[in-house]
């Protein structure tokens, strides 16, 4: 297993994950738009936000690939199946904590259950199990992260 393998896997995995969610948007499955959610932390211009968001999400993918690599090293094993299992944990972290709790708490343009008449946020919060963005959002998010994990695990194991 190699660090470079994990990083390459991170790049490929992020592209697949982001593209998969975009396809889901186009198919009318979800309103989840991760680049927009991340980019609007910095600007309320939608077009600029999407570009900024893609860059952030790409680097997030690399950071998570590094974290995966750390686990692979600690356990002494890498592979697509183990990566997919980590992807499941990753999905639970992203969908259960990062997007539903932390993002609304720090996002200056996102509403929370406590937002009141004094504020006018631009984005609705994802809600429990991301259901506010479409009830099947959680399934695509889960599936996307499992695929991400499998790709990172596979690349880390193979590129040696």
């Amino acid at each position: 297993m190699t660090l470079w393998g994990a990083l390459v896997g991170g790049v490929v995995g992020t592209i697949v994950l982001t593209s998969g969610l975009r396809v889901a948007q186009e198919l009318g499955v979800t309103r989840m738009d991760i680049p927009l959610l991340l980019g609007t932390i910095f600007t309320d211009r939608r077009d600029r936000a999407s570009v900024i968001g893609y860059v952030i999400h790409f680097f997030n993918g690399l950071l998570f690939a590094l974290a995966y690599y750390g686990v692979f090293r600690a356990v002494g094993h890498a592979g697509w199946l183990f990566g997919a299992a980590l992807g499941l944990v990753h999905a639970a972290l992203a969908g259960g904590l990062l997007l539903t709790v932390l993002l609304p708490a720090v996002h200056p343009r996102m509403g929370t259950p406590w937002t009141d008449a004094e504020e006018t946020p631009l984005l609705e919060a994802p809600g429990f199990l991301l259901a506010n963005y479409g009830r099947r959002t959680v399934i695509w998010t889960l599936f996307g992260h499992i695929v991400f994990g499998a790709i990172v695990g596979g690349f880390a194991a193979q590129l040696s």
């Binding site: 948007q25 009318g28 499955v29 979800t30 309103r31 309320d44 211009r45 939608r46 077009d47 999407s50 509403g111 929370t112 259950p113 406590w114 937002t115 009141d116 008449a117 004094e118 504020e119 006018t120 946020p121 631009l122 984005l123 609705e124 919060a125 809600g127 259901a131 506010n132 963005y133 479409g134 009830r135």
Partner: protein
């Protein structure tokens, strides 16, 4: 104020809220409707839907009284003054706003009681009934406070007189008596899925003062120079209460199943956002200078519709989630026996082509106000225009959500024309990809179709549908949106002739697949005033507006409908569509007057 079988007349209610939920308070001091934690959550007080088991929070003199009330100036804080033989007492009601730097209740209703003169014996009773009165509610005393609990919901009652109450048959009751100059505070702190915040008196009073300061500041941002400024300001404040701040969506009304006719079955849940209201909302917000709210609403609009674009649904949930299924609550008797009580709204499954005109008009207003639309939005709007060009020939359920077979409603066709016309303008302005050639061709074909099938020579009016040859007040919207035609002018005259009685305008006279009667539809009256102004009949517009302004209740609120014989309010209350129609009619008249003055100068 007299209750009939325990029910207050709808006219006797005022609304307080915090941008997340809202409470209806009757003139006699009873909080009869409150959903927690959000506008579309199940109720904890629903006395308006079942006087016996719905639940309420009553606070009133223990002796005979007369009550006067008002909103504090430019505010959604309600002040009720009870006059009795023993003296006068003032109650200030507000849902407080969250303090970001301190722990504050998830939602809080504060009721401050102040003795103005004499010593007035007061009594109070809190009957919490979670889940529309169906959930088992446990009431316990903990740490010297009363707690009401059901599942993930909790209510805590504080802070001084309230602590001494007694529990009888599921109600916490008590009495208090204040000397002149003394005051007491009731704080009802609510939590859902999190620990409840136990209110202290000093904290509750500080939050009340903060809330009292916020509302006039917000109302002070309103920009309007024209007649009926007070009514316009009140309508804007109502809209702010009906705005669900966490998402920017605007609820059609904060209630469900207040009947369109007493004892009738036309009882619907309005705690959703109808896309139909989009253009009226954007126009009102932009014209009154509330650009942040307009911005937030447009973002919500584009996000909420994304799952179905280019097809648009009729209504959406406030938080963006999808479940709007309609269900009945047979356990509740309904307002004065008006069954059934419904939650959810089946109109979601209908086809209503007019929403495309409303959304495109909203986009057009927003695009020109802001001066740009981003690439994704522009492409989405273009796809919606293409969808209209392809589907305007379809039958639909129409603006009045007729639960009968679909038809070719002329108002829907007219709004499809508005959609295509605005798309052409947006394309030519460079705000969306320009396919104006094909959109204009479709718009011209549509207009020719309306000319051929939508006109009745005998009635001298456009009709509801080719198979329903009668006048329809919704056709006034064509005039409001600038569908210019001599036939639209004639239709205004036909609405006056067939549907208007004094200031009241009925939607239509014919059937709609539902049993029972209904009142006159207040938004139609304001649309008529707007249409008068748009077509140069300024004096008629102003005269009608004067009459309509007089129809509001004592605190400036309107319902959906009114019984012309008695003046009784009917339907869900207060109604966003009516208040939007008021604002837009007033603004139109002000604009026409300003243009007239410019020309004269």
């Amino acid at each position: 104020m007299e209750r009939i079988d325990g029910y207050a007349p709808i006219r006797e209610y005022a609304l307080v809220g915090d941008g997340r939920t809202a409470a209806l308070i009757a003139r006699d001091g009873s909080v009869d409707w409150l959903c927690l934690p959000n506008l579309d959550s199940p109720s904890v007080f629903a006395r308006i839907l079942d006087a016996d088991r719905g639940g309420s929070f009553r606070l009133e003199p223990a002796v005979a009284f007369e009550a006067e009330r008002r909103y504090l100036e430019g505010s959604n804080v309600l002040e009720t003054t009870f006059a009795t033989a023993e003296g006068r007492v003032r109650v200030t009601d507000a849902m407080t706003l969250t303090e970001s730097r301190r722990i504050s209740p998830m939602r809080e209703l504060v009721r401050k009681v102040e003795a103005v003169s004499g010593t007035v014996p007061m009594r109070w009773a809190l009957e919490p009934r979670f889940g529309y009165g169906r959930a088992e509610t446990r009431i316990e005393r903990r740490s010297g406070r009363w707690f009401a609990l059901a599942g993930a919901d909790a209510l805590v009652l504080g802070v001084s007189a309230a602590d001494k109450g007694d529990l009888h048959n599921g109600a916490i009751t008590g009495e208090l008596s204040l000397e002149p100059g003394e005051s007491d505070v009731f704080s009802l702190s609510a939590a859902n899925g999190e620990p409840a915040v136990i209110p202290g008196r000093e904290d509750a009073e500080r939050r009340l003062e903060h809330t009292k300061r916020f509302w006039p500041e917000w109302a002070g941002r309103l920009r309007y120079e024209g007649s009926w400024a007070e009514a316009v300001t009140r309508s804007a404040l109502v809209l702010k209460l009906l705005t669900f701040a966490p998402s920017g969506a605007i609820v059609a009304a904060p209630t469900t199943s207040l009947p369109e006719w007493i004892g009738g079955g036309r009882n619907w849940d309005y705690r959703f956002t109808w896309l139909r209201d989009a253009s009226f909302t954007l126009n009102a917000l932009l014209r009154l200078g509330y650009h942040d709210e307009a911005h937030a609403f447009f973002w919500w609009l584009m996000h909420a519709t994304r799952l179905t674009q280019p097809r648009l649904d009729v209504l959406y949930r406030l938080d963006g989630s999808e479940d709007t299924r309609e269900r009945l609550l047979p356990e509740l008797t309904g307002y004065r026996g008006s069954r059934p009580v419904r939650i959810g709204n089946g109109a979601r499954d209908q086809v209503q082509l007019d929403v495309y005109g409303a959304v495109m008009e909203a986009t057009w207003l927003y695009g020109h106000a802001v001066g740009r639309l981003d690439g994704d939005t522009g492409r989405e709007v273009g796809r919606i225009a293409d969808y209209v060009a392809k589907h305007w020939r379809d039958k639909d359920n129409g603006i009045w959500e007729v639960r009968d077979e679909r038809m070719h409603y002329i108002q829907s066709k007219g709004l499809c024309w508005v959609a295509l016309d605005r798309a052409c303008d947006l394309g030519k302005s460079g705000l969306i990809p320009d396919h104006s050639e094909r959109w204009r061709a479709a718009a011209d074909e549509l207009r020719a179709w309306v000319d051929e099938h939508g006109w009745d020579e005998e009635l001298q009016s456009l009709v509801r549908a080719p198979d329903l040859r009668e006048v329809d007040a919704s056709l006034l919207i064509l005039a409001v949106f600038g569908y210019e035609s001599e036939r639209v002018d004639a239709t205004i005259a036909a609405v006056e002739r067939d549907l208007r009685e004094g200031p009241y305008v009925y939607r239509y006279r014919g059937g709609d697949g539902l049993a029972g009667e209904e009142g006159a539809f207040l938004a139609c009256s304001f649309w008529l005033a707007n249409a008068y102004a748009r077509t140069g009949r300024l004096d008629d517009a102003k005269a009608l507006m004067e009459e309509l302004i007089g129809l509001a209740n004592d605190v400036g609120l309107y319902s959906e409908e009114i019984d012309p014989r008695t003046g009784e309010f009917l339907g869900n209350f207060p109604q966003a569509l009516t208040h939007l129609a008021l604002i837009n009619a007033a603004v139109r008249i002000a604009d026409v007057e300003a243009k007239g003055k410019e020309r004269a100068a």
